[in-house]
């Protein structure tokens, strides 16, 4: 093995990542070549300096508590619908009421439907966006700043419209995940309430009219139009959020797939 080859492979040798044959070849070369042997000793010295130094940052004492409480809080937000259902159950007095509630529990007992799961995901994404100081990746009320920001990050171009004139100023955009797919998240504001608008290409071609879901104090609207699924979620009251959804439906020019 030549010096050149040895220099190429010396790191793999140092890290124990070479196969047996090349390992032996390097060992032989190091025995016969002083210069390469010295270079190898340098690498060993560097490694032991990095490893023996106190360069490892241990987590500060309070971080574990902080992470634990944040994750517990987040998981509570995700499980709450089940808790609610059982609370309702204890309230039930008449058989009829009980029967209806039992029937309403069936989806939870048999596992949530795809739509339910997605609705839950949308709420979780909304809650998370407000909780971890990660509301927007690109902060701008200018649609011509927000829309191009998604270029290269998504394989579709979401329609972005500033709705300040209608009392819903655009706050910015963010990349998120829904349904195991990247999704464009646009953030709007109504007074102190934030609205997340998620846009994602639809796998089905058909258009779906608006559906409404209310859960955990949040309102959701979703619809499919021109090959795109739209989700609107906020803690804003239903009628104002409805107004926002209508604005999006009327304003938005069709999204274009790339």
């Amino acid at each position: 093995m030549s010096c050149h080859e040895t220099q190429d492979l010396i790191h793999g040798y140092l890290d124990g990542e070479l196969d047996l044959v090349r390992n032996l070849a390097i060992e032989q070369h190091l025995q016969s070549c002083q210069a390469c042997a010295q270079a190898y000793r340098n690498q060993q010295a560097l490694r032991s300096a990095i490893r023996t130094g106190s360069l490892y940052f241990k987590a500060p004492a309070n971080l574990q508590k902080r992470v634990r409480s944040a994750t517990r809080k987040a998981s509570k937000a995700e499980t709450r619908p089940q808790v609610w259902s059982w609370r309702w159950l204890s309230v039930g007095t008449s058989l009829a009421v009980l029967a209806i509630i039992t029937w309403s529990l069936v989806p939870f007992l048999t596992g949530p439907s795809a739509d339910d799961r997605l609705a839950q995901e949308v709420i979780s994404a909304h809650v998370r966006s407000l909780m971890v100081n990660h509301l927007v990746d690109v902060s701008s009320s200018d649609q011509h700043t927000v829309k191009p920001w998604f270029n290269g990050k998504l394989d579709f171009s979401p329609p972005v419209k500033d709705l300040t004139d209608y009392g819903f100023p655009l706050v910015g955009g963010r990349l998120d995940y829904l349904n195991n797919r990247p999704v464009a998240a646009l953030v709007y504001r109504r007074q102190q309430h934030f609205i997340n608008l998620f846009i994602q290409p639809s796998s089905q071609g058909s258009e779906v009219d608006q559906k409404t879901v209310a859960r955990q104090g949040y309102h959701l609207f979703h619809w499919t139009k021109a090959g795109m699924i739209y989700w609107v979620v906020s803690d804003l009251n239903e009628s104002e959020l409805q107004q926002f959804a209508k604005l999006v439906q009327n304003q938005a020019s069709p999204a274009t797939a790339r």
């Binding site: 390469c36 500060p60 944040a70 499980t79």
Partner: protein, 180 residues
Amino acid sequence: MLEPNQLARFEQTVLPHLDAAYNLARWLTRNDQDAQDVVQEAYLRALKFFGGFHGGESRAWLLTIVRNTCFTWLRRNRGHELTIDLEEEIQSLESPAPNPETVLLQSADEQRLKQALEELSAEFREVVILRELEGLSYKEIAEIAGVPIGTVMSRLARARKRLQQSLTAPLHQEVDLELS
């Protein structure tokens, strides 16, 4: 959707790797407070994706998420630092004649080593941290950083060369001063 026993399982498998998560975040952000924020966000993401984790190396799994959260954070807050030299990346390891000089690491105190590490670009720094401080294999590092194994090796080689250079450079300067 997360069930209570799943949260318990999450805390059992993922929470013990808090030091590894913080160490990586701390080296990549180079700041305690930012590292703590990034770690918290990474854990929330990990919780979200935990349903898709079917056993295996939970530390590497978590570090992948921490790493990605860090780079998202870096792109947003310190975009200028993520300018890895393309030439650097594709250049083969030249220097056919090995450098015979001794590193003299005995004299290189920890502070200097730390500084030299911080001066590396984030892509180089992460492979050194994962390899030397976490003891991960090339394959694991490749999966975490989302690059081929060959790139891990060449980045490590480059990073180590840079470290040696910056640890020996001041000595050269001293020599130059004496000569002038």
